[in-house]
């Protein structure tokens, strides 16, 4: 395991020997890594390997039993919940099942962080344009007055992305953004994630079990003129892959190292990139 070096800037998120336990189950064990600004991390692993727990621990939604979690330079490991709200406003999270509020319209869902996050305190007249912008970003402006139950799974995922990015957070955590979606919708979602990275220069952790998602993020860039994804060629993107196995970090490194790995567990996740992925 060779942590990549050479990236400047203080880490946005740091795990220092973090262990997370639930009653009798160890969900994460001795996990350490640092995410610097501008990086995109692709987090892979089998079901139950601790991917979701890692994201939730990063936001303080799950708590570390030992070790240290440092988010935006602040140690959040032992902070009480009420002190975490301001810090959480700087992190956008896309939950696995979208987690949109059923009782609210799409517009209310997207406006929720603007209304409720004390650190943001947006004036009401500015809120509507911000919500509209964010929904336009995911190309769902027309759904503002509808309810989540009226939308398809892919559309709900896009609304959840709009809700995660509406506050323009510097760090985004995507939990299995393409899980359960057909390949075309999955590609649309990944294209949105890449667009968000390249338009707003955000740092992100993308949990996925599909290697082609990681490959897309690592090798394609959003072209604002054509609105399509273009290959980046040899210069690459600042993408680092991580693989979790039974709560432990089994791999951390660049795509080339991942593809060169001889570990049978890691090899399971590595398929040759599809030629026409974009």
């Amino acid at each position: 395991m060779n942590p990549p070096s050479g990236n400047a800037g203080a880490p946005l998120l740091e795990f220092d020997r973090v262990t997370v336990r639930f009653t009798d189950v160890v969900a994460l064990e001795d996990v350490s890594f640092r995410i610097r600004p501008g990086e995109t991390r692709i987090l892979m692993g089998a079901a139950g390997s601790g991917k979701t727990v890692l994201l939730k621990t990063a936001m303080g939604l799950d708590r570390a039993a030992s070790g240290r979690v440092v988010l935006m330079g602040e140690d959040i490991t032992r902070r009480p919940e009420t002190e975490l709200f301001d810090l959480r406003s700087k992190v956008g999270m896309l939950f696995q099942e979208s987690a949109l509020f059923d009782s609210m319209t799409i517009a209310q869902n997207v406006a929720y962080p603007l209304l409720n996050q004390k650190a943001i305190k947006m004036e009401r007249e500015k809120m509507e344009p911000a919500v509209r912008d964010s929904l336009r970003f995911v190309e769902l402006e027309q759904t503002m007055e509808r309810y989540p139950s009226e939308l398809s799974g892919g559309m709900r995922r896009r609304v959840a992305i709009a809700r995660a990015v509406v506050t323009k957070p510097p760090l985004l955590l995507y939990d299995s953004p393409t899980a359960g979606l057909d390949p075309i919708t999955a590609h649309t979602i990944m294209a949105l994630i890449i667009k968000e990275r390249d338009v707003d220069n955000t740092t992100a952790v993308v949990v996925t079990y599909r290697y082609q998602d990681g490959n897309l993020v690592a090798n394609f860039r959003y072209n604002p003129n054509s609105g399509r994804l273009d290959p980046v060629g040899s210069q690459g993107t600042n993408t680092i892959f991580m693989v979790l196995r039974d709560g432990r970090l089994a791999f951390e490194g660049a795509q080339a190292e991942l593809e060169a790995s001889s570990d049978p567990y890691i090899r399971k996740f590595v398929k040759r990139p599809e030629r026409d992925a974009a």
């Binding site: 939604l61 919940e81 959480r88 999270m93 939950f95 696995q96 987690a99 004390k118 650190a119």
Partner: protein, 255 residues
Amino acid sequence: MLDVLKGPVQAVQGFFELTGRAIRNVIAKPLYLNDIFLQMDSIGVGSIPIVLLTGTFTGGIMALQLGRELQQYGQTDQTGTAVSIILVRELGPVLTAVMMAGRNSSGIASELGSMKVTEQIDAMRALGTDPVKKLVTPRMLATNIMLPCLTVIDDFIGMVGGWVIGMIVYNLQSLRYWTTTWQALGWSDVVQGLLKPFVFSFVISLVGCYFGLNTTGGTQGVGRSTTQAVVVAAVSIFVIDLFLGKIFVSGQRGL
């Protein structure tokens, strides 16, 4: 042995922790007034039909049974007294609370449980809201306000039920019935009749919230939480009622 006790002890600890946080949030800003009114409507106004139905029939059956017994002693006139004391002191608060446990503890547990398993609770925390403040405190306050009101409605409608049966079956005079009903009640009965629902309202709302927020295991888990919430809330109401009853009985003896 200790492992067997661990679960229940942790549950009780978790419940009181939630209770503490919910009560502390009453004085902390922001107070979600809209949510409180919404819950008052759903928990309180929504329960009026079942309270009216159960109240009428409970009062009716009490008048029917007690009237027959009192007839043996030539005291049918006292039916109103018996009906009003039993209703105001015991049956009104307990029956209303049990009905509310069936309707609202389950409703709250399944609603919050579904939110929990679909990660909406986590999303709420991630988006800057304390779920206890946003979801639990409004439900608790709404039940605190509405359950005593519903109990008063239940007491009154029960008396009406008793009056109708008394008139039809035992040919009671209306004036006589309502006079004895009114005169039978002392201040301690009224205090007891209002204090009990206030205490029960914490049980109904917080047990529902506790089981809802601690749901695990998908939709099956939601069903389990809902059932547990109703059972625990209903049993707790009967247990607490006995203790409160004992306090009031002792208090009256001392006076």
